[in-house]
């Protein structure tokens, strides 16, 4: 079971600084840098937060920038140091790559003294440690661990200021001189000098090259040192270097920001379509080099853009760039509305049909009013909703909404069924009645809600504490200067300067929890197939019978209750009873989160139901469920049905998805896999399928087009592939319903 889990990255933090361990020379210069950064911090430690940040960034930039590589059309590569300052890419605020430093000390003992001095200095000074230290005792008790990838627990805090989306239109309109003037009397006055120093460094580095590409980069940089950008190339260059300096890696509505520059260059003959595409692809490559996992969201399309016609031209260019590059970055996302330029939808479907998995589709006609309700803002502000990372929303440059908490709902249910004890750690989470005392479904529901509520409330408090600590630590000038409201108030984005300061909580295991509660209701309380204590005992044994079967090989028999659990109707099949429980679980946790905002002083506190590896990682330390999920197995992803449990076809899945209220959360994602045929001769039916889903209230779609690898995986693990349809001669079948020989036959046919 562990083999395929082992490829899952536990964490992305400290990903970048590990480069320093490659050689003794490299480590030595990395330590030189870390010591210089540390000295700058120490010298300004008792000064203002703004002065300290300015001093730190003077060391950090241009030191962590890398020169352009062969083929780059723009300057802008970065490699973070062993200590430094960042909102999220490496760590929160002032960070120290402790793991990398510790490993470096083991590998290069001769540097031990320097490394120990750094570790000692930063021991209690990093912003994440300061946040943890600010927890009141009761909160520390509710959230005892930060090691969500390694330990069992219901809820974990996260340390980051994630998802910030900046007002790049403002940057490109003002240029550096304009922004410098605007920020002159604010805590962000160091921003433009810092950036200009980097530009000068890049101009010198690129200008030394004799090749035309290097010269073009130098010329471009020279043009934007003071004046606003005048061309598409200059606009991309300024945007990109600003984003790298800000430490942000989700870019919002780039079509609205870059579209007018693209349109003007094309119309005036400064660029051909092919040249513009080449520049766009080059930007995509730099994004891929920056982050190769969960971020790099580029949003195109949708309601509320200021330059929709020009923006659509960029949107079409962006889709072409994604088709050209065929990488996993950026995460191009298309906001759709019923009255948009039809070419956007057509090109998007072309790209998806080719198996690019991009763009990710969003339905503005549902999402804008839903976001208005969820965030409690006007629709004009809601129209700025911007998915970032794995699918959480912020309100463009109007809000902060970092996802700083994780809750595992299946673990909450597991704790509820064990009298308040987490059976994996033995830790008592709450004083709750034992399973023997839970004599009705509503009693089970109530204890489950108790566990959820207490942890949601704890995470909301953590969220506010984290904002307060961050606010005292640094103004985050690069972010604040392009966040609506901050310059006007002279206040940092996380300190209350942003117009809307929200927070989000990532929920995992939603589907398994709903299906498990439904199975408990049906098997224990409706049909009396098993008592609750007996069911809990079977779950604790992971559906294995106590005795050894057959006397040899140590193979254990599976408890017959497993089949009964699996046979109970599941979410994702358009079954009203099963889906009602999913709605109830959804409404409960979303409501619990929303209630917290006024209690802790946030403008909103909302659930996000997203996908990344957390469903797998948290699943490893979560016991078997009454839904039939085995102990340690991954949990369902996002809002999706449990893989293989959606047996009724794509319309049924989509109907189930559309039942979950979108007006109470800050983003939910749905993965869908279709055979290539849907995007070939059957494309009109695919269009009808998605458009009907959107008209029925669907919010979002992430579409994978299956290939041979999927079929092979379906043969190995049929329980996960119940949704896979294949065409056989004159009819279609569920692939997993076919006997192995027939599957082999299909597999051979689809070799091309």
């Amino acid at each position: 079971m562990a083999t395929h889990h082992d490829s899952v990255p536990d964490t992305i933090s400290e990903l970048h600084p590990a480069w320093a361990l490659a050689s003794a020379d490299r480590l030595s210069s990395a330590l030189d840098y870390a010591e210089a950064f540390t000295a700058a911090y120490a010298a300004s430690e008792n000064g203002s937060a703004a002065a300290r940040e300015a001093a730190a960034l003077r060391v950090q930039f241009p030191a962590i920038l890398l020169p352009p590589e062969e083929g780059d059309r723009f300057a802008g590569r970065v490699r973070y140091g062993l200590v430094g300052f960042s909102p999220e890419p490496v760590g929160l605020g002032y960070y120290c790559a402790r793991d990398a430093l510790t490993r470096a000390g083991e590998r290069y003992p001769h540097e031990g003294d320097r490394i120990h001095a750094l570790l000692a200095f930063w021991e209690e000074r990093t912003t994440d440690r300061r946040t943890r230290a600010a927890f009141p005792d009761d909160l520390a008790g509710l959230l005892p661990s930060d090691a969500w990838t390694q330990e069992s627990g219901v809820a974990f805090p996260l340390y980051r200021m994630a998802g910030t989306t900046l007002d790049y239109r403002r940057l490109l309109r003002l240029g550096l001189d304009g922004l410098e003037e605007l920020t002159a009397e604010t805590p962000f006055s160091h921003v433009v000098p810092t950036l200009r120093r980097s530009l000068e460094w890049y101009r010198a580095a690129a200008g030394g090259h004799t090749d035309p590409a290097g010269a073009a980069i130098a010329d471009t940089i020279a043009a934007i040192l003071h004046a606003p950008p005048a061309t598409y190339r200059q606009a991309i260059q300024l945007f990109w270097l600003y984003a790298l300096h800000a430490g942000t890696w989700n870019y919002g509505r780039l079509d609205d920001a870059l579209g007018p520059f693209l349109a003007a260059d094309l119309d005036d003959g400064r660029l051909t379509e092919e040249e513009a595409l080449d520049l766009t692809v080059s930007l995509w490559r730099l994004m891929q080099a920056y982050d190769n996992q969960f971020n790099n969201r580029v949003i195109v399309g949708g309601i509320g853009r200021s330059n929709p016609v020009a923006a659509d031209r960029f949107a079409l260019m962006a889709i072409e760039a994604t088709r050209r590059l065929r990488g996993n970055q950026p995460q191009l996302s298309l906001r759709c509305s019923a009255d948009q330029d039809r070419r956007l939808w057509e090109r998007a479907m072309d790209a998806i049909g080719e198996g690019t998995t991009f763009p990710i589709l969003y339905n503005d006609d549902v999402n804008v009013p839903a976001v208005a309700r969820a965030f409690g803002v006007e629709e004009s502000i809601a129209a700025e909703y911007t998915p970032f990372g794995c699918g959480e929303y912020v309100l463009g440059p109007h809000s902060e909404g970092s996802p700083n908490g994780v809750i595992n709902l299946m673990k909450a249910l597991e704790v509820a069924l064990h009298g308040g004890v987490d059976p994996w750690s033995g830790r008592r989470v709450a004083a709750l009645p034992e399973a023997t005392e839970l004599t009705s479904f509503e009693a089970v529901w109530d204890v489950y809600c108790t566990v959820v509520d207490m942890h949601v409330a704890a995470l909301a408090r953590h969220q506010m504490i984290e904002y307060e600590v961050v606010a005292a630590e640094a103004p985050f000038g690069f972010i604040s200067a392009l966040t609506a409201g901050c310059i006007e108030h002279g206040t940092g984005a996380f300190a209350g300067g942003a117009e809307h300061r929200g927070g989000t909580i990532e929920t995992y295991g939603n589907t398994n929890t709903a299906d498990s509660l439904h199975a408990i209701d049906e098997l224990v309380f409706s049909r009396g197939v098993v008592s609750l204590p007996e069911l809990v005992r079977v779950l604790d044994a992971d559906f294995q019978l106590d005795h050894e079967a057959g006397g040899s090989g140590g193979q254990r028999e599976t408890h017959p209750l497993l089949n009964a659990c699996l046979a109970v109707a599941k979410y994702g099949n358009d079954d009203d009873v099963a889906d009602r429980m999913a709605q109830r679980v959804h409404a409960q946790v979303c409501g619990a989160a929303r209630e917290q905002a006024p209690r802790v002083g946030l403008d909103s506190y909302l659930v996000v139901i997203i996908n990344n590896w957390a469903n797998t990682i948290l699943g490893r330390r979560t016991g078997a469920g009454a839904d039939g999920r085995r102990a340690g197995a991954p949990m369902a992803n996002g809002n999706n049905p449990t893989p293989g449990m959606d047996r009724t076809g794509p319309t049924a899945v989509l109907n189930s998805l559309a039942k979950l209220d979108p007006t109470v959360h800050a983003g939910a994602v749905q993965n869908m896999k279709f055979s290539r045929e849907w995007f070939g001769g059957m494309r009109a039916k695919m269009d009808a399928l998605l458009k009907t889903y959107f008209r029925s209230g669907g919010t979002q779609a992430m579409i994978t087009v299956v290939d041979r690898g999927d079929l092979e995986a379906a043969m190995r693990e049929p329980e996960k592939w119940g949704h896979l349809m294949v065409r056989v001669g004159g009819f279609s079948v569920r692939f997993v319903d076919l006997p192995p020989a027939a599957q082999q036959e299909i597999l051979q046919r689809t070799l091309y």
Partner: protein, 262 residues
């Protein structure tokens, strides 16, 4: 559910005078034996469709890819898989109705298939009536082997016939399907005479009808311009492993790898 268990003799419930399969009340006007309901089916008529597979077939085509649909009663395979369950017209329609938005957007609807759906005639007719009452587009996927009077009764209820055409000559038809095809041809003519929309589906089976004579026959049909479409469907031997699951010997013919030979 009737729970007929694992009958492995390959017999089929016989049709009585009323056209109802007399299998312990397994099928009637209000309920019948449904093998599966496939939602968002792509290939059973226009648009996105719900295809309702009814069990029972009067033919025994040697190349049958759905042998589990031949018997009119539920069966249990050696693998434990259960083929078929009793459902009422109302219960089928509850499922069908759920995708109405997708039918409207795509020009789709419901398709009755099988087996041969008209084997459960009363159930089939009432399903078509219910769909018609609900304003849902109807397709009937038929082999054409049913009393002509029955077919005529269904014409006003069916928007599009998916009509199988297998072989031109009576001797070959009997050899490979168990019936000589005379009634099938007469029924096809009757549908055309009545102006029904017919989409012909022609399986092309190696060693059976993948020859120039049959190709000419299909091209001649196509040339009449009387059909919505004439579709040639490639043969596959996917049915073989299902025969094995049902404990039955797959028929030997040129298109199959014969048991014991491979």
């Amino acid at each position: 559910m009737a729970g007929a268990g694992n009958r492995t003799d390959g017999t089929v419930g016989m049709t009585d005078d009323d056209g109802m399969i007399d299998e312990a009340g397994a099928t009637s006007e209000t309920s019948g034996i449904v093998l599966d309901i496939q939602r968002a089916a792509l290939h059973d008529g226009q648009g996105l469709r719900a295809t309702v597979f009814l069990k029972g077939c009067p033919l025994r085509c040697a190349w049958c890819h759905n042998p589990e649909s031949q018997a009119a009663y539920p069966e249990t395979g050696a693998s434990g898989k259960i083929y078929g369950a009793s459902m009422s017209v109302a219960a089928v329609m509850v499922v069908v109705e759920r995708d109405r938005g997708y039918y409207d957007a795509s020009g789709g609807g419901v398709t009755l298939s099988g087996g041969e759906p008209t084997q459960q005639f009363g159930f089939c007719r009432e399903l078509l009536r219910a769909a018609r009452r609900a304003g849902i587009h109807t397709c009937l996927d038929t082999c054409g082997e049913l009393p002509t009077s029955r077919l005529i009764e269904l014409v006003p209820l069916v928007d599009l016939f998916l009509f199988d055409i297998k072989l031109a000559d009576a001797e070959g038809h009997r050899r490979w399907t168990g019936v000589d095809g005379t009634l099938i041809r007469r029924n096809l003519d009757e549908l055309l005479r009545r102006g029904a929309a017919v989409h012909l589906r022609a399986p092309i089976v190696p060693g059976v009808n993948d020859d120039p004579v049959h190709d000419r026959f299909l091209r001649d049909l196509e040339a009449t311009g009387q059909f919505v479409a004439v579709e040639r469907m490639p043969y596959h031997d996917i049915g073989r492993s299902k025969y094995e699951d049902l404990g039955r010997q797959p028929p030997a013919f040129d298109g199959f790898l014969r048991p014991g030979v491979d």
